[in-house]
């Protein structure tokens, strides 16, 4: 396996470092840190844990200590990647300055370890590569906003916008320009997917699962559909016209396909019609 072959050099390096570590008194602080780390929220990937235990077992010296230290570094590394993803500042320097012994940047070691071990898969099925920013950050130990200003550039003068110039109507040239821009920016779809996106924007493609009531929003409640007598106030209360309109209302109330507005429009049309024909009716 690829992992085993490339491991040997790194393991030897780790061995030498572990020996140096054990010589120093900082182990206690590291162990304390590990116990603190275990209490932190995010559990590590079980595969990483297994790999760390495999590495520790391959190094014959003090398996448990090495395993715990490796896990602590992994956890710290994952914290830094989380922070970088969220865009927060890297507090590793603070973390390291707190630690008693100066070490070669543990972030780099964490990178090496977890870069071999990372079996996490992204959404696309590609492996997540650990954030590479952490080692680079240590190289440049300057920040952007520290130091005296050089005063080379002047601040961009805020352009005072005049009152909106009244344009009576867009000229033909403006329209042509706008059309040109629209034609250039609207590239033909590269995909079937982009084509479908365009169609849904235009409203041609239906939304699935198909909803029979798209575009129909009837906010009126049932009583507005059925009790239409209140619209009949302007009609005479007796006579054939009233009889006729009551039949009309009865029919409309039973119609589920019309909206309330359409029903009211029907009734109003009849109203107008009979008012126009009033003279005729009075002759009769």
């Amino acid at each position: 396996m690829k992992v085993e072959v490339s491991y040997r050099k790194k393991l030897q390096e780790l061995k030498t470092r572990e020996i140096k570590k054990q010589g120093l008194d900082s182990e206690g602080s590291m162990l304390q840190k590990t116990t603190e780390d275990t209490q932190r929220g995010r559990p590590l990937n079980p595969e990483l844990v297994e790999a760390a235990s495999a590495v520790a077992s391959s190094l014959t010296l003090n398996k448990k200590q090495t395993e715990s230290e490796l896990l602590a570094q992994l956890r710290r590394h994952e914290e830094t990647t989380d922070k970088q993803k969220k865009g927060g500042t890297i507090n590793l320097r603070n973390v390291i300055s707190e630690m008693a012994v100066k070490r070669q940047s543990p972030a780099q070691r964490g990178v090496r370890i977890s870069s071999r071990i990372s079996l996490e898969l992204d959404e696309n099925g590609q492996r997540i590569k650990p954030g590479r920013l952490s080692p680079h950050f240590f190289d440049s130990r300057r920040s952007l906003k520290v130091g005296r200003r050089l005063n080379i550039f002047s601040k961009a003068s805020t352009e005072t916008e005049n009152a909106l110039e009244t344009v009576s109507s867009p000229t033909i040239w403006d329209l042509e320009f706008a059309k040109e821009i629209a034609a250039i920016t609207a590239q033909p779809p590269r995909n079937g997917f982009e084509e479908m996106i365009q169609w849904t924007k235009e409203g041609i493609l239906w939304e699935f699962p198909i909803d029979n009531e798209t575009g129909m929003e009837d906010d009126a409640e049932f009583h507005e559909h059925i009790f239409l007598e209140k619209h009949l106030e302007d009609f005479p209360k007796q006579g054939p016209i009233r009889h006729f309109m009551e039949l009309v209302i009865c029919g409309l109330s039973k119609n589920p396909y019309l909206s309330v507005k359409q029903k009211i429009e029907h009734i109003e049309w009849f109203q107008k019609y009979f008012e126009e024909k009033k003279e005729l009716l009075q002759e009769i």
């Binding site: 033909i172 054939p240 006729f244 009309v248 029907h266 009849f270 024909k277 005729l280 009716l281 009769i284």
Partner: protein, 109 residues
């Protein structure tokens, strides 16, 4: 915005005329419905119904739905058109044999 004639290509002039009839029928559908409601009545006086008769006759001739002919959408054939697909029998057979009609299979039983 420049206004001018909107020209598109229908299969033939008969199809164009059919399209115009459909548009007018859609516009006048409500009015025709209401005037017919007055005419086909036993309650209202007959004079009113005669007036309504004249009114409906005054509407444009192409606004009545009876004049619409369900032509084939692709060939404008007036006969042999299946309603579900709006295609004439010849076009339908052509597409079905090339497996371009969804769910259509040659019958065999």
């Amino acid at each position: 915005p420049c206004t001018g004639q909107a020209r598109s290509y229908y299969v033939d002039w008969r199809m164009l005329r059919d399209v115009k009839r459909r548009k007018l029928a859609y516009e006048y559908a409500d009015e025709r419905l209401r005037i017919n409601a007055i005419r086909k009545n036993a309650i209202l006086p007959k004079e009113l119904q005669e007036v309504a008769d004249k009114e409906i006759a005054d509407l444009p001739r192409d606004s009545c739905p009876v004049r619409i002919r369900n032509r084939c959408v692709l060939t404008s054939r007036p006969r042999g058109v299946k309603r579900r697909w709006r295609l004439s029998r010849i076009v339908f057979r052509h597409f079905a044999d090339h497996a371009q009609m969804s769910g259509i299979q040659r019958a065999m039983w």
